[in-house]
């Protein structure tokens, strides 16, 4: 044999195939069902895993190389940020509330997503799919860690960050993101991919990250801008994976369509509820506003989402069932959310406040149909109580939605003057919901949602037994430091003093 014969040049695609898919084989000592036990029960039919199109072609050597470059830059910037007291560059200490919510609510979700993708990296019987999921798994570990590291320096100077790990498991408003990710992790592999890979990464990520990162940039927070930027190319990969997944499921068998549509309906609504927090942050918590939640929704929801669903129409997919209700809620939700947070702010590990006159002007310009009519009067009322020395605190227990876990504070889609409340009886028990969307989700899988951990009920059980102080202790919330009105808070005082020191000659 002549070994000198010129080697056949492989195309990139062929080479990638040899370096990934060709590694797998059909097992013979154990059946496929034994090796991949979870891919049948959801009812999704896959006939040929080889039809999977790799959404990106990245071998491990190039993965390490690219990611290392990004990592070097990221840590160089946050090191400098910490060394130079970069936190004093933010517009105003009110901005910190957005970061506190992010660390308590979103970063743990990054880790949970990583855990889920490790499982998917094992459970799918196709090497291409597995490898893409595994890369997303370590990416998500990366995101959790870069976020914790970027915000670690803020924790050294400001309140509300220190107990994020306790808050994740015990804090009432953290059950909103926690139940979202727990729901995805307790779902089968295909539903997980629709939940996180498609709905979260593809449909909703832009609504989360773009406003959040531009908010950070507008408000002088280089640390957060940097982790956002650094994650961007990872997210681009995650989005293509999510899209490939849904197309693959729909192309493999027409019987998959109704199942996938059901998941899209469910996860759109769950994600939409989760994003209410982002809307609130954009409209209320950024001292320097980027755009309103309504404007962000118009671009990333209506335009981009609309285009996506027009594209998916060729598979028979229609826009998510809750789409119209979502649209009707956009001009209300951030106001309702912030009003609720303000009333319950004795129980939050971040500050809230009554918007200033200036900010109300901005809000009424951005929400001409709703703000002056429904919400300005309520803020004015709260303002009056505060001025009289009797600030309003809602000490009544909020009724939480059994599905999304938000207090039932949202109004009827077609009547902004009455609170939307739904209930269902299941096995002799009554369950409450914030919306039709959440009620439907429950009714499709009642056995799952009756298990939800409800933080308000925990209040009356050991070790708390209805004692607010004991509860604060249990969630590691330090009263007078972490919670309450921003006005008069330690964060406000410290930031002002330090800034003053930095800008004067003292």
């Amino acid at each position: 044999m002549d070994m000198q014969v010129a080697k056949k040049k492989l195309s990139l695609k062929e080479k990638y195939k040899l370096l990934t898919r060709d590694l797998g084989w059909d097992t013979t000592y154990h059946t496929k069902d034994e090796v991949f036990p979870y891919v049948q029960y959801e009812g999704i039919k896959i006939h040929d895993w080889d039809k999977w199109e790799d959404p990106f072609r990245l071998t491990m050597d190039s993965y390490w190389k690219y990611q290392a470059e990004k990592e070097r830059k990221f840590y160089a910037i946050i090191d400098a940020h910490a060394q130079n007291n970069g936190h004093l560059n933010i517009t105003d200490a009110r901005y910190l509330s957005a970061l506190k919510i992010f660390l308590q609510a979103i970063s743990p979700g990054e880790y949970a997503a990583g855990k889920g993708f490790a499982r998917m990296g094992r459970e799918f019987p196709g090497v291409g799919t597995q490898v893409a999921c595994q890369m997303q798994s370590i990416d998500e570990i990366r995101h959790a860690q870069t976020q914790i590291h970027a915000l670690s320096n803020y924790n050294k100077f400001y309140n509300g960050f220190h107990a994020f790990a306790d808050a994740r498991d015990r804090m009432w408003y953290c059950t909103l993101p926690r139940s979202f990710f727990d729901d995805a992790l307790s779902s089968g592999p295909f539903e997980f991919m629709i939940a996180i890979g498609f709905s979260f990464e593809y449909v909703l990520t832009n609504l989360l990250f773009v406003p959040f990162m531009s908010g950070a940039a507008y408000n002088g927070d280089m640390a957060t801008v940097t982790f956002g930027f650094s994650a961007q190319s990872d997210e681009a990969r995650h989005m293509t994976l999510g899209l490939e997944c849904i197309k693959f499921m729909l192309e493999q068998d027409p019987a998959n369509l109704p199942i996938v549509q059901g998941w899209i309906d469910k996860w759109f609504w769950r994600g939409f509820r989760l994003l209410g927090v982002v809307g609130t942050m954009m409209d209320y918590m950024l001292p320097k506003r980027v755009m309103s939640w309504r404007e962000a929704w118009n671009i990333y929801g209506v335009e981009n989402g609309g285009a996506l669903f027009r594209d998916l129409a060729r598979y028979g997919i229609r826009p998510p069932k809750g789409w119209d209700d979502a649209e009707k809620g956009i001009d209300h939700m951030s106001h309702q959310f912030m009003l609720a947070l303000y009333q319950y702010n004795f129980g939050t590990a971040f500050h809230s406040w009554i918007p200033s006159e200036d900010e109300m002007e901005w809000l009424s310009k951005k929400y001409p149909e709703t703000f002056d009519k429904y919400y300005r009067p309520r803020w004015a009322h709260l303002s009056k109580l505060k001025a009289a020395g009797t600030p309003f605190a809602n000490m009544g227990l909020a009724k939480l939605c059994q599905t999304c876990q938000i207090p039932t504070v949202f109004t009827e889609p077609d009547d902004p003057t009455s609170i939307c409340q739904r209930e269902t009886e299941y096995k002799g028990e009554k369950y409450h919901f914030c919306s039709d969307g959440c009620q439907h989700i429950f009714e499709n899988e009642p056995e799952k949602y009756i298990q939800a951990w409800l933080p308000m009920q925990q209040l009356f059980q050991a070790p708390i037994n209805g004692d607010l102080g004991a509860w604060m202790n249990w969630v590691s919330l330090i009263p007078g430091k972490d919670n309450g009105d921003f006005d008069g808070s330690e964060d406000e005082r410290n930031f002002a003093a330090w800034r003053q020191q930095a800008t004067s000659n003292q």
């Binding site: 040899l18 370096l19 797998g24 390490w64 889920g116 370590i138 914790i148 050294k156 089968g188």
Partner: protein, 330 residues
Amino acid sequence: MQIDLRTVSIKQQRNTFDHLARRFGDKPASRYQEGSYDIQATENLHYRPTWDPDQLIYDASITKIVMADWYALKDPRQYFYNNYTLARARQQETAEANFSFVESRGLADMLPDELKQIALDVLVPLRHAAWGANMNNSFISGYGYAAIFTQACMFHAMDNLGIAQYLSRLGLLLGDQEALTEGKTAWLDDEAWQPMRRYIEDCLVVRDPFELFVAQNVALDGLLYPLVYERIVDGYLSAKGASAVAMLCQFMNDWFDETRKWVDAVMKVAAAESEHNRAILQEWTEKWSGRAAAAMLPVVRKALGADADEVVGEEVAAFKARLKKVGVDI
């Protein structure tokens, strides 16, 4: 407005996060600690998995190993995403330089045919074994408990994939695409490879994450890497003049040296936790390493012929000595 803030000296309010202060005292934490401890949800889990309602979504009891605190299983390398990625990026640079050195000087073509054939016969089918290792570590990461342990398993899984890819490139370089086809046929049908393939496939149905850790990372790799990369590639092939092959395998050699420190540390801490754990680890290690040795024997024979029994025996003894040091006596 950019203000010069460097000169401001202001008083820190606290050193670290509460959960780290509880573990390590009120002092600044390392990035490894911040990124690894207590970042997995532990309490008030909402729903049971629909894929197995007998489990919790994060469930420490799906393994027989019992730990009072799973975060005791720390990584002596202190790898979190950043320093892990940076370390591998440096190693892949070396690997790349080695591949291009061999390629640009035509060293592959200068290998004696017999040695080249041995390299192909032994190394190329192992790309499938490395893929099996990848799936196993992805499983341990997915179902194991506590971020400190499971993140290291995900890094390990990605390493296994990297190794499968280096072995594939080695096959392409030494024998073109046919080498990969032949290697796969051998993996599927050659008598000599069947005990190994069976071992991997048996691992793929183990659903106790810690047992799988023992079967894959302790027992199989603990014998495979010394036998293949030290004894066959560095010992036998290099001595006969095929040091080009050793260059192409440097990544695997360095990797094993580095990762066994982590594997040993995990075993040591888990075994020291209780007699219950030690007994289980002993039972698993004995069972799986016995099978791993038997699976390696026909593979080693491909290179070392009649010497294989003795060499495998020596490595089994070395393996037992290694495990004895971490408290697992078999």
